[in-house]
């Protein structure tokens, strides 16, 4: 306790003492050299400099320094008849003016080059060749980023231990009589089968065709029972578990009849559109009543492999919006459309027959009805 006071007091005293006497302890300044200075008048200085300039101008002509430009001036050959500049300009003789041009009387223009009537030989003009612009401009390759740091950095502390052999993690069992030594799980470092550097990777190119967004699946609501959702009184956790089970169960249910799954790729949107256009070309609603025109029907049909509908299989699956009589009229018009335009077979890919073996067509006359 007291020691601290003593130390503090000593420190303060030292500081005060340094402030008071520290300046006297500074080293002595360096000694200055003294020299004599003579003063001359302006006239004397002009006389001295004029004599010096006149002697320099009479011995050499110095062209004014051109402005410093980055571009080099093109070589201009001297004209053979060009008169040399007049060196007898009286202004040049005024040597007392330092801004005047120097005396160039001692300079002679270069001898004019002899004119030659022989025209220079001209080489054959190079064959004109059109340069086609590349169809696709090459994309600039991005400059590879330096992969090596300029300065070595110490490797970070490894999170996991890399070992030559694989060993499982061992945790001491509390109930064991002889507690085992705890051991972390280790494994040799995983490696790829080949080394592929970034430089060897193929540059990405733009796709040749844009991917069309997948059409929203049409879920016909006609003729289907839409059960209202049951009240859910479960907790969140239970709800999540039940939803997970339900989803997994449904997946397993749908995955069970894998043997009945149609083989081959599904019909493309273009193939489906072609079928739709083919049917609607024969769907004549001109002779339907206004009630039938307000009725949507779903018609099922089984198809032959040659694309023709099995007439006997055409059936009414469901209807919406009208009476039974109206649904019957609408179904008969739809059936006529399927049979008429399917007489020679619809243009469907045979390799995807399993996909269109059974078709459900929804005939919705909403756009055709009288409004």
């Amino acid at each position: 306790m007291h020691a601290g006071h003593y130390i503090s007091a000593a420190g303060h005293l030292g500081l005060i003492g340094w402030l008071l006497w520290g300046a006297n302890l500074a080293p002595a300044p360096e000694p200055f050299e003294a020299s004599d200075v003579s003063v001359i008048s302006a006239e004397e200085y002009a006389a001295l400099t004029a004599a010096e300039i006149a002697s320099e101008a009479s011995t050499q002509a110095v062209a004014p320094t051109p402005p410093d430009t980055s571009e080099e001036a093109p070589d201009i050959p001297a004209a053979p008849n060009e008169e040399p500049p007049d060196s007898t300009d009286p202004m040049v003789t005024q040597q007392d003016d330092p801004d005047q041009a120097p005396d160039l009387s001692g300079m002679r223009p270069p001898d004019p080059a002899e004119a030659d009537d022989i025209s220079p030989e001209m080489g054959a003009a190079p064959m004109e060749s059109a340069t086609l612009a590349p169809e696709n401009s090459e994309r600039p390759t991005p400059r590879p980023a330096p992969r090596v740091a300029p300065a070595p950095v110490a490797p970070p502390e490894p999170d996991s231990q890399v070992d030559e052999v694989r060993q499982e993690e061992r945790v001491p069992d509390e109930g064991a009589e002889t507690p085992a030594e705890p051991q972390e799980a280790t494994a040799p470092e995983e490696a790829a089968t080949e080394i592929v550097t970034e430089a060897e990777e193929a540059p990405e190119v733009a796709p040749s065709a844009s991917l069309r967004p997948r059409a929203r699946p049409r879920v016909p609501t006609v003729g289907r029972n839409s059960n209202p959702p049951e009240e859910n009184t479960e907790t969140d956790a239970d709800a999540i578990n039940s939803a997970l089970e339900e989803a997994l169960g449904e997946t397993q249910e749908t995955a069970a009849p894998q043997d009945a799954v149609p083989a081959g790729p599904p019909l493309s949107q273009g193939e489906r559109d072609a079928l739709r256009v083919a049917v609607q070309r024969c769907w004549n609603v001109g002779s339907l009543s206004s009630a039938a025109l307000a009725t949507t029907v779903i018609v099922g049909v089984s198809m032959e492999r040659d694309g023709r509908p099995d007439v006997e299989s055409i059936r009414l699956i469901g209807s919406e919006g009208g009476s039974d009589a109206a649904a019957r009229q609408a179904f008969e018009a739809a059936r006529r459309a399927i049979i008429r335009c399917g007489t020679n077979g619809f243009d469907l890919p045979e390799e995807k027959y399993d996909r269109w073996q059974d078709i459900e067509m929804t005939f919705n006359p909403e756009n055709m009805r009288i409004k």
């Binding site: 749908t254 149609p262 002779s287 009543s289 039938a292 049979i339 078709i359 006359p365």
Partner: protein, 445 residues
């Protein structure tokens, strides 16, 4: 925290599976496509001559088939395939139909019929309707019998059955039309009350033409006709029995004029307009008790009343708003509700037999139109346009409207036209004279 992450992961997984599951399942079901666009064109139909079963029936076999074909093609919904294109004519009513032959000429419907004259002189007509492409019969075959004088009605019955079976609409071919037959120049025109088949055949005149007659209206049973006559020098309402041709005045109040009558659906009540003291209002009259009741009492002109099919409301025209518009009021009177709000003047409203539409005459920008609108005034559609179109009347099935069209000028003449409520198939109804003020009868019994 780990438990919370697992819960969130499970929830996301469930959502993804729930969304992906049905889509995948749908891929595995039948191929589904939706047809939303079709074509509107007449259906090709083959109507070969009916088979004459016996020599006496030969006279009717072809004529009945022609009337059937005319009825169907007259709707604009069917197109008859000429007989020259037939590959295998029907020679026997009971023989199986060679559908391939009819399919080859694109006949979508085939009517096969037979005619027979029985020993008592009755004419028997039977027919079957086939869906050629489906290769099956549409509905059951029908058989009608009647006198030989009624052969046209039997043909209309056959056509009605075919029309209803294919289109789903109610029948209307076996019906009649009352109208005013007009002869002579415009300034001295002779007007007679007449009735005819819906297609203009079998015209029968009911009055002699000594007095001007206007606006005939059929009774719900089709046995009588209301009309307005100037027989007494003033317009009066008369009731005419179409069988006995006996008529009587229904309303004779001194100093008044009555006109624009129309039956209520019950057939006992008549609604009409009466002008008394310079004011025109709407009244009802019980034709059995002669009891009258005033339904409107506005200083404006209220006229052209028409009952709703259920008999609970009345649509009429009134200029109470300053221009001629359409209003609906309860059958017992009360505050009318305006239903027309378009530009122009609306008049002669007629309630559709289906109850869903009102047909009217509209005058706008110097042109006359026949149009339809819903009872709330929505979905107004103008079906025609000409120098003068007026006086619509509904077919019994509510699909077709007949009206008067008058040409311009001193030599202008009135004639009857019909149009589908879609606005298609506008055509003139064949009459031997000028004709106006049509009233379509209910379907004959």
């Amino acid at each position: 925290m780990m438990a919370g992450f697992m819960t969130l992961f499970a929830a996301l997984t469930a959502v993804i599976l729930a969304v992906a599951g049905p889509a995948e399942a749908q891929e595995r079901g039948p191929l589904r496509i939706e047809i939303t666009e079709g074509v509107i064109e007449p259906m090709p139909v083959a109507v070969p001559d009916f088979v004459a079963q016996g020599g006496a029936a030969r006279e009717w076999a072809s004529r009945i088939a022609r009337v059937v074909a005319d009825d169907l093609t007259g709707t604009g919904l069917f197109r008859e395939i000429p007989s020259a294109a037939f590959i295998s004519p029907i020679t026997s009513f009971s023989s199986p139909v060679q559908f391939a032959d009819w399919k080859a000429i694109n006949a979508q419907a085939l009517i096969s019929g037979a005619v027979e004259v029985e020993g008592d002189g009755k004419l028997v007509v039977k027919f079957r309707l086939y869906d050629v492409f489906a290769g099956q019969e549409l509905g059951d075959g029908l058989r009608f019998s009647g006198t030989t004088e009624g052969w046209r009605r039997m043909a209309h019955k056959v056509a009605d059955a075919v029309y209803s079976r294919i289109t789903g609409e109610g029948p209307y071919f076996d019906s009649r039309v009352a109208f005013v037959a007009e002869t002579g120049p415009k300034d001295a025109r002779r007007k007679r009350l007449a009735i005819m088949d819906y297609d203009g055949a079998n015209v029968q005149y009911l009055t002699d033409g000594n007095s001007i007659v206007l606006a005939p209206r059929f009774s719900p049973d089709g046995q009588s006709v209301l009309f307005t006559s100037y027989r007494s020098g003033f317009p009066r309402i008369y009731l005419l029995n179409t069988n006995s041709l006996q008529s009587r005045a229904l309303e004779e109040q001194p100093g008044s004029m009555s006109f624009a009558p129309r039956f209520a659906p019950d057939g006992r009540t008549v609604v009409y307009s009466m002008t008394r003291g310079g004011n025109t209002d709407i009244y009802t009259l019980n034709i059995e008790t002669a009891e009258t009741r005033r339904l409107t009492s506005s200083p404006s002109i209220e006229t052209a009343p028409s009952f709703s099919p259920d008999g609970n409301r009345i649509v009429f025209e009134s200029d109470r708003s300053g221009s001629q518009q359409l209003y609906v009021m309860p059958v017992g009177g009360g505050v009318p509700e305006r239903i027309s709000f378009g530009q122009g003047r609306y008049g002669t409203p007629v309630w559709s037999p289906r109850g869903d539409l009102v047909a009217f005459t509209k005058q706008s920008k110097g042109r006359f139109h026949i149009g339809v609108m819903r009872l709330d005034g929505s979905e107004e559609r103008l079906l025609t346009a000409s120098f003068l179109d007026e006086g619509p009347t509904w077919s019994p099935n509510g699909r077709v409207i007949m009206f008067t069209r008058e040409t311009q000028g001193a030599g202008g003449q009135a004639s009857l036209y019909s149009v589908d409520i879609t606005g298609r198939n506008l055509k003139r109804v064949r009459t031997d004279t000028g004709a106006s003020d049509p009233s379509w009868s209910p379907l004959l019994k």
